[in-house]
Symmetry: C2
Subunit: 183 residues, 2 copies
């Protein structure tokens, strides 16, 4: 694996666990096994690293969801829930959620990257929900747009609260109810 990729993966974990304001270049350098100035060679500033990482994160999400658009609505929804669920056992939260809480401390060039991350999910979910409804596979008690926002908000919030509690109980309670209501 090349150096840029190594830096990406360690920085991403640090952000998902501790936040942008909770880690430093020194932390990455220590784990990667190079000096701090070497990191600046690959990413001139911390803001640059965050921006490139958020772009990569969104791209990976897009690929994951696009490759599952042709599944049944129930399976697609399940795949989406699992995307969030896998973070708990690693003591991570979503990078988009983490950066959102820190948004007022971040360089403004990050803001549109955050909007893009959430807008994409909103559109993907809305389409899946509409498909599921017309297929008779999902039951909607509100508009697809409202349900999509609610699902995203619930997953983000449940992940953050569950991770802080140190177990997955809260996440499971929230999402099981949500899923059984829809199916």
């Amino acid at each position: 694996m090349d150096m840029k990729e190594k830096i990406f993966e360690i920085a991403q974990r640090l952000i998902q666990q501790r936040g942008v304001n909770g880690f430093s270049y020194a932390d990455i350098a220590k784990e990667v096994g190079v000096s701090k100035p070497s990191l600046h060679h690959h990413f001139a500033t911390k803001t640059d690293l965050i921006a490139r990482l958020m772009e990569r994160y969104t791209e990976q999400l897009t690929e994951y969801l696009e490759s599952r658009t042709n599944l049944s609505a129930q399976e697609a929804l399940n795949a989406y829930f699992n995307l969030y669920r896998q973070n708990i056992e690693n003591e991570r939260v979503c990078m988009g959620g983490m950066l959102s809480t820190e948004v007022l401390t971040l360089d403004p060039c990050i803001h549109p990257l955050l909007s893009r991350f959430f807008n994409y999910q909103q559109e993907w979910l809305t389409a899946i929900l509409k498909k599921g409804q017309s297929d008779g596979e999902l039951k909607l008690t509100k508009t697809a747009e409202q349900q999509a926002c609610l699902i995203i908000a619930a997953l983000q919030g449940a992940l953050i609260i569950s991770r802080a509690a140190g177990n997955s109980t809260f996440f499971n309670q929230s999402i099981t109810g949500l899923y059984t209501e829809l199916t």
Copy 2:
């Protein structure tokens, strides 16, 4: 207003807007109009300030909710939603949600304070939902416990995402759907 109260209010705003790792004693000192060492006289360490502040925050929430336990289930639910909604216009998120994202960087003495904050809300909401169901005032499509977790998670997540987007659209979409489904 006495000095401790001044410090509390400014520190609370800074945390809700920027996070524990996004502000310093210098920021408070500047706004209060005293020197940094004077702050240490009132709160010996930053961790001490955070802990006292979180206790106060939970106490205020408890008083707010207890005083509304005798309202109708719909009105109580509305009061709870408004508690979260008022943060958006001030560019704040919930202090409990903010500290939860930063939990791995905080002194462990903060952890039980966070658990208490969320456990209390869970119990209060569950009771309200059960009452509303037996009164025929609320419709539940899942257990009261699951619905309570889902509501808390959705409010936290929607607040974080909406605040980052810079408008209340996402929050309103999420919560309007949730409320109309229940009533």
